[in-house]
Amino acid sequence: MSAWGARELTVTYGDTVALSSVSVDVREGEVLAVVGGDGAGKTTLLRALAGAVPASAGAVDAPSLSSIGFMPTAAGVWRDLSVDQNIDFVASAQGVTGATLAERREQLLADTGLEGATKRLAGQLSGGMRQKLAFALAMIHRPPMLILDEPSTGVDPVSRVDLWRMISQAAVDGAAIIMATTYLDEAERASRVLVLDGGEVLLAGTPADVMANVPGHVADAVGTPDRARSWRRGSQFKTWSPDEPTDGAARADDLEDAVIAATLAKETSNA
């Protein structure tokens, strides 16, 4: 099976390099989480995969637009339309009709918990509900590939778990999913993670791989910590060291420590 994805993809806007030689596979039945701060290049990568941004160098491998479900940041529903009208519009645009539409409408409403609110304007739904609706609309034509740009940002934890269940279900049903997220706990549950920083790949692989590939290691701080290389988890300091860990010790306890360590390592090597 040949995976979709990007090969050595570089995207520039004028003089700004938004993505620099990024390679990534998006595989069927898997959720790939793209992590990074504002300006890391997450949206550019997703838009390039959807064919909305041309590659300056390298290549993008993705199915045709009709086989992609795209969910943009903080949008994807029409606020002045009711839930039903949103479904009608997107279904009609994607050519979903008749018995198929009836069945998918029913499932969508059940998944999102919107059965009793079909006449409600999308703009009046809570943020979490709206994002769940947007996700369900993005996949109403059951595309083999789903591109989701921060579907869960700003969504409360409760709706987020629900949204994650829906995304999981889509992956279980065979879709290839790439989603940007700022929540590392969410990324930790993805099949694979791509950590971007300033348009470059900082770390990539399964969550376990990512934690194992951290340069140096992270340990609880002893004594007075070097604040430049330390940060707090709760009231306890953690410190990153470029040295190899002692035999058998983990390089990082979780994805958050791993990403912070890799960012510090990059800063150190750039300095």
Binding site: G37, D38, P157, V158, D185
Partner: protein, 287 residues
Amino acid sequence: MPEPLISARGVTRRFGDFTAVDDVSLEVAPGEIVGLLGANGAGKTTLIRMILGLLIPTEGDLSLFGEAPSRETRARLGYVSQGLGLWDDLTVTENLAFVDGAFGSAATPVPDSLRDAGDSLVVGIGLGGQRQLAFAAALGHKPELLVLDEPTSGVDPLARARLWDTVRDQADAGVGALVTTHYMQEAERCDRLMLMSRGVAVAQGTVADIVGDTTATEVRTPHWQQAFTALNDANILVALAGTHVRAVDATEDEVRAALIEAGVTADLVPMQATLDEAMVARERATV
């Protein structure tokens, strides 16, 4: 015990027939970081607006530093809003100068990380820089209480860790903080949490208190797709973690029964539920 910075007793706020905050009690002591969690619309923002003095409670008693919220209490409070509340068309130094003027505080220094960007417009310094500036602006007048509304959303993990270092340093110096967040890692950095749902404070305490006896079972099987579908169909709260399936708030027997029903064999590993899983379990229980 020192006098609490925030003391809310039975605070209720109604808008017409709608009760946004319902009989909520909360205290924040000096040196303490309290996290406020809950869905959008759970009443967090209304509660914060009352604490800031922008809304007056319909019922209940709310005091800041032992007195009713007023212009005087605002001068002792630092607030970072979700939207950051910076003036985009002003430079970094102009923003700080305005805030210093409003609070009558001494010149707040530009944060180290923005030292070269003092004359840049706020629009041009990126979200990470803007968050640091908003923190500096909120801390410039040496407030005794910090109110932070989703203070770190959108920044990378290192920048988030740095902002939290700032919050914790302030707490060590005796400042109290009330923080709303959707990040579970942030919630875990708080000393105490309050969980709100539909205007009601449904739980208060440490992470361990809130997770309580909520259980999670990790289902390990090569047939994880079937396992996921089977548990979901059995109306068990289910989530995917890589290629493992997590069943939340269900007994091992319930999980096993659902899997046997679907003919899936799997190893079941009991685990502690995560904070967000516990929150969903509570939410489902209240419906």
